[in-house]
């Protein structure tokens, strides 16, 4: 494998990590509160707002059911508005964030719903406000589940990031398509797949480790 090829792979890996990490960060910033709200806003719940919950749920479902490649193309004008351009890794962060936000929101909702309702009642019984319940009870108790949810989201984002090559987003997927497929360089395709496998393994292992560390439901000593 030539030094040029190795350079290309290193550069593409950097682009992929950049896109995925920023999109995961923004997806969490937007997805976490949406997920917490979805988990606490049905009838009789902490922030009961059944109508808003239903509408938000539909928006989340609609976004999640749009194929990612179509989403990327469909929101080009919006991407240009936000990023100033619709081409390149920075621009690709916009569709990646929009795709990961509802995904993370649903995962967060599931993790929060796992928290025993008795704990909410307990905190209410000693006069905790709804926001105190969220920050002192729900999020800390759901933390292992939230860490695993974020891990899953990052792995999915690595997959999505391979598709943003279609709008010049760069990254590993783009490299694999252009060199491995279109220029027929199977060794390049193989190298890209190997790097992606290694990245997914690393992310998943780190996530599992962290989730175990924050899980106090199991005996440690």
């Amino acid at each position: 494998m030539s030094p040029e090829m190795i350079n290309l792979i290193v550069q593409a890996t950097g682009e992929s990590l950049f896109m995925v990490s920023i999109a995961a960060l923004l997806g969490t910033v937007f997805g976490l509160p949406i997920g917490v709200f979805l988990a606490t806003s049905r009838k009789g719940e902490l922030f009961a707002a059944p109508a808003v919950n239903a509408v938000l749920g539909m928006v989340v479902n609609a976004t999640r059911s749009t194929p990612f490649i179509i989403l990327v193309v469909a929101i080009i004008p919006f991407t240009r508005l936000v990023a100033g351009t619709s081409i390149g890794s920075t621009a690709a962060i916009v569709p990646l964030t929009i795709a990961s936000t509802p995904f993370i929101a649903r995962l967060v909702e599931a993790a929060i719903r796992e928290v025993d309702a008795g704990l909410i009642e307990t905190a209410s019984s000693f006069g905790a406000s709804p926001l105190q319940i969220v920050f002192k009870v729900l999020i800390p108790e759901a933390l292992p589940g939230l860490v695993l949810a974020l891990t899953l989201a990052i792995v999915s984002l690595l997959g999505y990031s391979a598709m943003v090559g279609a709008v010049g987003g760069g990254g590993l997927g783009d490299l694999g398509i252009r060199y491995g497929y279109q220029r027929f360089m199977p060794e390049m395709m193989l190298a890209v797949v190997v790097v992606l496998i290694a990245l997914v393994q690393a992310v998943q292992s780190a996530g599992d480790y962290l989730a175990r560390r924050v899980n106090r439901r199991l005996r440690h000593r």
Partner: protein, 373 residues
């Protein structure tokens, strides 16, 4: 008819005299004309959980609320700390109408009412000490005061050495001690116990009930405990409220309730703890027809002062027959003897009739169970 009305008109059934009437000035908790209806929702029909609830819980007392599951006791206790709102009526706690409070005012009032739960409801992500600190953090205490108070509470409930343990590393009894310490953290004047010992073994239950008795004695905290176990009421409570199908069917001092239960539900609860059931070996031999040369089996209820102690001897002496003691159980509850004796009388109609007549004359409730060989 509810107990309060019964008390007012002096009717004996369902109301024992001299317990905290509804208008007592020293009431810590007062239920006034309470009903609670859960409206129909989706496929579930509406439920009338509580009706005509009118009574008071005296300051510094330990009151047991007993009922079968679904009787409404959970709803009743949740009215006290505002987790539930009554459909009609009001709940006055320490002079304040808690059912009228909402939002921040309700949350402030809730800090003076602690609660412990059947399944402890500890945060798995916090150590014992941090679980106890939670209500203090929520109340906005400064950090230094929190750690001093937590150390005090850990010592009070006897688990100072478990401060840094997570709930997953604690036994059921230790978890409930954390729960009790947490409930007492903000120095409440009422402690609500929602089946707090139902998930514990008998020995641990006894230890936890002893701890609650100490807390009541030393801190003067009013304790309201809901339970489906009469043994819990017997060990801890001074007053009993029996509820069934959303109504208070009987209430009074624990000794009065145990010695003279009026309502069938109360009687069935008492039968559970005073051991009215016969030993299996005896029950299996019991026949309804007299057995020649055998014995008639009679059960005598013992309720009250030490009368049961000399019963067998007096019976033998005064009626002049041999009395066999087949089974017996007598407990002391609130200074009163409560239990039953099962005795065997030599076959032949005459003897059994004589004994039953003597028992009736001396005001012992008794029944003939059958005959054994």
């Amino acid at each position: 008819m509810n107990a309060h009305q019964a008390l007012a008109v002096g009717e004996p059934i369902g109301a024992h005299a001299a317990i905290s009437p509804g208008d007592a000035p020293d009431a810590m908790v007062r239920f006034e004309g309470i009903s609670k209806v859960y409206p129909a929702y989706r496929h579930k029909p509406g439920v009338r959980a509580l009706q005509d609830i009118d009574f008071a819980i005296a300051r510094g007392s330990i009151t047991g609320v007993i009922g079968r599951s679904g009787a409404g006791k959970s709803s009743l206790v949740r009215l006290i700390n505002g987790l539930e709102k009554p459909t009609t009526g009001r709940v006055v706690v320490d002079g304040r109408d808690i059912s009228a409070l909402a939002g921040r005012n309700l949350r402030l009032a809730q800090r003076s009412i602690g609660m412990i739960f059947q399944h402890f409801n500890l945060l798995s992500s916090r150590t014992a000490a941090d679980n106890i600190a939670l209500p203090l953090e929520i109340a906005g205490w400064p950090k230094t005061e929190i750690s001093a108070r937590v150390a005090e509470l850990l010592a009070l409930v006897g688990i100072a050495d478990k401060a840094d343990r997570y709930p997953s590393e604690l036994s059921g009894g230790q978890k409930q001690r954390v729960g009790i310490a947490r409930a007492l953290a903000t120095r409440p004047n009422v402690l609500l116990s929602d089946e707090a010992t139902s998930a514990l073994d008998p020995q641990t239950t006894r230890a936890i009930l002893d701890l609650l008795a100490n807390i009541n004695r030393e801190l003067g905290v009013t304790i309201v405990l809901i339970t489906h176990e009469m043994s819990v009421v017997r060990q801890l409570a001074k007053e009993v409220v029996v509820i069934d199908a959303g109504h208070v069917v009987e209430r009074g001092h624990v000794a009065d309730i145990f010695t003279n239960p009026q309502h069938p539900i109360t009687q069935s609860f008492i039968a559970e703890v005073v051991g009215d059931s016969l030993p299996v070996s005896l029950a299996s031999r019991l026949t309804s027809a007299p057995v020649a040369g055998g014995q008639a089996v009679i059960r005598v209820q013992v309720r009250g002062t030490g009368a049961g102690n000399t019963l067998v001897a007096r019976l033998a002496r005064e009626v002049g027959i041999d009395v066999a003691l087949l089974a017996a159980r007598i407990d002391e509850i609130g200074g009163q003897h409560v239990g039953s004796l099962t005795i065997g009388i030599p076959a032949g109609e005459g003897a059994a009739q004589q004994v039953l007549a003597w028992l009736a004359q001396h005001q012992f409730a008794s029944e003939r169970l059958g005959h054994v060989a």
